[in-house]
């Protein structure tokens, strides 16, 4: 059975918000009976983009995480709904019936992803419907995928077995797997949002001037074991990524040719730019 999946590549999202604006364009002042009633002009974020800054000047990065209804196979909102107000289609898309769901505010709270929004005026819960109404009308993909200029959002229709191969090939992850809801939205390069880095810059004094040290060997060790290594670039910079936040003490060992070895200790809460390391 061919089903819909969404792939969100966190490394490619720039917070342009065109997917958000396309969602507003589609749903504000438009009723799609059986699919969704009109979205309020302000206040709802059926597609929401969450920012994460890591590090600090001069070494930082920023990730943006688009979050929307995950169209879960084990949807807690379906459990919380009464009178069959929420149904799951054969193609995997989850629909909140705009008529049956009236008054059911508990559906909003049931979603651990915060992807369901309460429409005060119509008294119904609402979420992103994967543009099911358009797909049923022959459109090839939801509008969010079409407008995304960087490929941060892609929609794929295939059976789950085929998609399992894609998950492995592209290194896809669930957002909050601990919720156990079996989302149909999968995230690539999620570490940009959930993990942290340790970075620094190696420099040395030579002939009265301080210069960047290129090609120095840098090793990252934790509890005595080397977990990663790299070489500094032309600016003397190095960066170790995909580390767990709040994971305690690390040691950076720097071996630059022609210089004595140097070690630096770093404690990880959030990402750390360890600054200049003089060898």
């Amino acid at each position: 059975m061919s089903k819909w999946h969404l792939i969100v590549d966190v490394a490619n999202c720039t917070n342009c918000n065109v997917c958000v604006l396309a969602c507003h364009d589609e749903h504000v002042d438009n009723d799609f009976p059986g699919y969704a009633s009109a979205m309020p002009k302000h206040g709802h974020k059926w597609i929401n983009i969450l920012p994460k800054e890591r590090g600090a000047s001069p070494m930082m990065d920023i990730a943006f995480l688009p979050v929307m209804c995950q169209h879960c196979d084990n949807a807690p909102c379906m459990d919380a709904a009464r009178d069959g107000a929420i149904s799951k289609r054969a193609d995997g898309i989850v629909i909140i019936d705009p008529v049956k769901a009236k008054g059911q505010k508990q559906i909003v709270d049931a979603c651990p992803y915060g992807a369901v929004w309460w429409n005060e005026e119509l008294e119904i819960p609402q979420a992103w419907i994967f543009d099911a109404h358009l797909l049923d009308d022959g459109w090839k993909e939801p509008r969010a995928a079409t407008v995304c200029a960087t490929g941060a959002i892609r929609a794929v229709k295939c059976d789950d077995a085929t998609f399992a191969k894609t998950i492995e090939a592209e290194g896809l992850e669930e957002l909050h797997p601990e919720y156990g809801t079996k989302p149909r939205v999968w995230y690539k390069n999620l570490y940009r949002y959930t993990k942290v880095f340790i970075g620094g810059s190696v420099e040395a004094e030579e002939g009265g001037n301080v210069d960047c040290v290129r090609g120095a060997h840098v090793a990252l060790t934790k509890d005595g074991a080397k977990i990663a290594e790299t070489f500094t670039d032309v600016y003397g910079d190095f960066k170790f990524d995909q580390l767990d936040p709040d994971s305690g003490e690390y040691t950076i060992d720097i071996a630059a040719e022609g210089h004595p070895a140097k070690s630096v200790s770093v404690t990880l809460g959030e990402s750390v730019y360890a600054g200049e390391v003089r060898v």
Binding site: N17, V18, L21, M60, I62, V147, G236
Partner: protein, 1004 residues
Amino acid sequence: MGKYIRGDATMKFALILFGMRLLFWWTALRHPVFRARLKEKNLTAQFRTKDGKVGRWFKIKDGTVSSGAGLAATPDVTITFKTAEIAARLLMPPINQLEQINALKDFHLSMDGEDELTSWFTQTVLLTQTVGWQYGVDQGKGVTRYTQMTNGGPVFIYEKDGKIIRITPITFDATDAPSWSIKARGKTFTPPRKTSIAPHGQNWKSMVYSPDRLLYPMKRVDFDPNGERNPQNRGKSGYERISWDEALDIVSSEIKRQKTVHGPGAIALSHGSHHTWGNIGYYLSAAFRFINTVGMTRVLHNPDSWEGWYWGAVHHWGQSLRVGQCETYGGVEDCMQESEMVVFWSANPEATSGSYGALEGSVRRQWLDELGIEVVHIDPYFNESAQLLGGKWIAPKPTTDTAMALAIAYVWITEGLYDKDFVETKTLGFDVWRAYVMGEEDGQPKTPEWQVGETGVPAKTVRALARNWGTKKTYLGAGGWGNGHGGACRNQSGLQWARIMVCLIAMQGIGRPGVNMGNLQWGTPVDANFYFPGYAEGGMSGDLHHTAMSVELFQRMPQLPSLNTVDQAIPRLFLPEAIINGKAEGFAWDGKSIEAQFTKISYPKPGYSRVHMLYKYGGSMMGTMPDSNRHVEMYQSPELEFVVNQSIWHEGEAKFADVILPACTNFERTDISEWAALGGYAHHGQTQLNHRVVIFQHKVIEPMGESKSDYNIFTEITKRLGLSAYYTEGMSELDWVKREFDASDLPKIVKWKDFIRKGYLVVPPNPEELRDNVSWRWFYEGRKKDVPEPMPLPSDYSEEYLKGLQTQSGKIEFECQSLIRYAPDDPERPPIVKYKTHEEGPGNPEWTARFPLQMLTPHPRFSFHTQGDGKDSFLNSIEEHRVEIDGYRYWVIRLNAEDAAERGIKQHDLVKVHNDRGAVLCAAKITGRLPRGVIHGFESCATYVPMGEPGKSVDKGGMLNQLTPRKSQLKQGHSMSASCAQVEVSPWDGVVEIEREPVLAAAE
């Protein structure tokens, strides 16, 4: 017998007239739209020869048409042809436009009658040709799909029952032209087969249906054109609804009164730098013809996007017809195939999208990573391009970039890391500049260690960058376009920065494979030879002086030339000073030569009246021009007897007018255009795109309320001046659109009827072997220029045509001979580029002590200038644009965590951003994207919301341009310096009043 023998021409003319009678009958029978049209007026129209021997009258009464041969007793409209022969020739299809124009000019053809009726009648005759045309593609269930163009990309619009359902970008189908591919380093790259769309493009539905739309004409309640005008209340008084008749009568009477009471020059029209899209409706088209028809003082623009390039870079390498920015052909392919690094210097194309480029460049810049091309971002702010692309981020203090660039040159010189051969043979004056860089002139060698004190960038980083750059084939992407534009070129040292960008790329041998200007924004391999006019070519303006029409469009689309007999101009940056104090000075923005910018413009011009009427057209300047509280004082000046505002939404300067004329959006009128086709000074802007797309801009819905298209508003005014035939040439917007289609290369590849139905046409790219040559390669190799740009002008070559550059030596000049000729001792613009600190920065310790934060105000990411902001549109919900605090959406100001903590400011606090020029209430965002001492807020706010007295109180709307400096970058120029300003940020204290220096000069 003689009188019954008709000459051949006489018979032809009579038959044509009879045919017209049948045409009216047949069209009315078939088309309800035409029947409705006929009910609009009752009149008798007469066609005749001058001698009256051939004629036919048409009587339109209560929607029916009767007709007879001969002459009517009292026709309302008379169209006279000198002879039957002339009439037959002109009226026999296919109608030759050039013949019609020539006949009018030579008085072979004349039209008499009241403008209201002649205008209506001629457009009705033309309507018989167009009324049956079919538009749009049926989608079933009552939905029709149309096409339009926004400033953020081309769009489909799905309409049902007169309502816009949705607006989407365009996905191509199997019949559309193929896409280009680029082969680089063993891989093939092809862009996606669809158009992209910018945030403000996707925002349009909420702008069309905005609650702030101007739906009917209005008049300020305390303005009486025949009594008290109360100019001092502008910006304070309310408005009342009036009819179009009353509004147009006031405007046209005022025009006549200004001219008879004060004389030529008394009326000025101020327009923006952009417009809602469409070649016929563009300000360079409909508004320019209107200016010329009435005769007005022009508000002369400064080269806002180009500043440092026009006033500075042009002296090093020419390129004046690109306002000092250089050619960019073939840049994308060359960079992808050959380069090892791209340096983005004050360049943020991910946010600014070049100009009108939607998000086309993003996918190309993503290819950089795949190709292993290194990336560097030089910007005080960790910008959107740095965020997406990664790479090395270097953050010099604002306005100090030149110091860093000098240090790079120093390293290249001392370590021999530059193209010595190129510098030796293709440039002039390097030794003079070299002496300055090495410190031989002022005793200060411009070392990486020296620049630390200016920029804050570690010496080691500058040295590493210089060495890396000097040993790798590098594209320098300076400014948003990559060959310039925006950013640092608009701050107080923009001149220096743009100049030194040229010097750096010249040292590396521009034109060598992999070495050029660009950041993958310009230079795609689209077919640049296919002709479709850009908006700068002037549409239907007839203006050969202030548009690029004379180059090509005038021959292809013949039209009545229009000439503004008022030769007076006010430099835009000093419009308030000109109005309030009666004088202002500036310099010309004229790209025809390097020297054209040396021409001084003085207001008032001897013999002309000062300005007492302002026709404010389009978006507000208060959000986009520096030190904009001055505009409030200007509006309240008694010197301005009358202000009319023609715009779409009730915001900004519309609230300062006496009469407001409601214009409609492009979605409510017909037009034609090409995506990113600027033309003129930005020739071949289409090379920003992955595909060239020409659009028939369908009128999707009727104008909202009583709003009208700009063209129709101008037509109504010119009717009351007896000039509507001159203004419109008898044609509707649709008629002009058809003419522009016929004038382009479109008829070679698509039929009109197919084009207007489907609405878009993808222009096929060149086959690979016919792609444009790479820019500058010809220069690097010492050959004749071989890229498709018709510039510089022939007389600007010193030696042989097409060999060398526009400069006196024909080479890139490190020591500019044009500046030696003009002003060799100007400390603001010496013949070689030097580093000098400025008043809006470290050069003015007293000012910076009081206002220690450097505020960057780049172009907004989500709106297109003011277009899209405010007006309760969707994008105001984007937190990066505005943040909601207690029910109001405040403009965002970004600051570093330490600067915020020092001031007791937390995330999303209400803060006052202020200096002696004004104060703006904003929502604070704390971010690591800025170093200490630098803050960031977009400019181009659409809403001015003074909390007390306009001009004298804190603004809640978000207009940060109230705080920016008005001073020109140089006295010998007319240049913005506003993109960086010294301010302070304080927690909001509730004090609404501010004090500022009035513009009004003390009486002598």
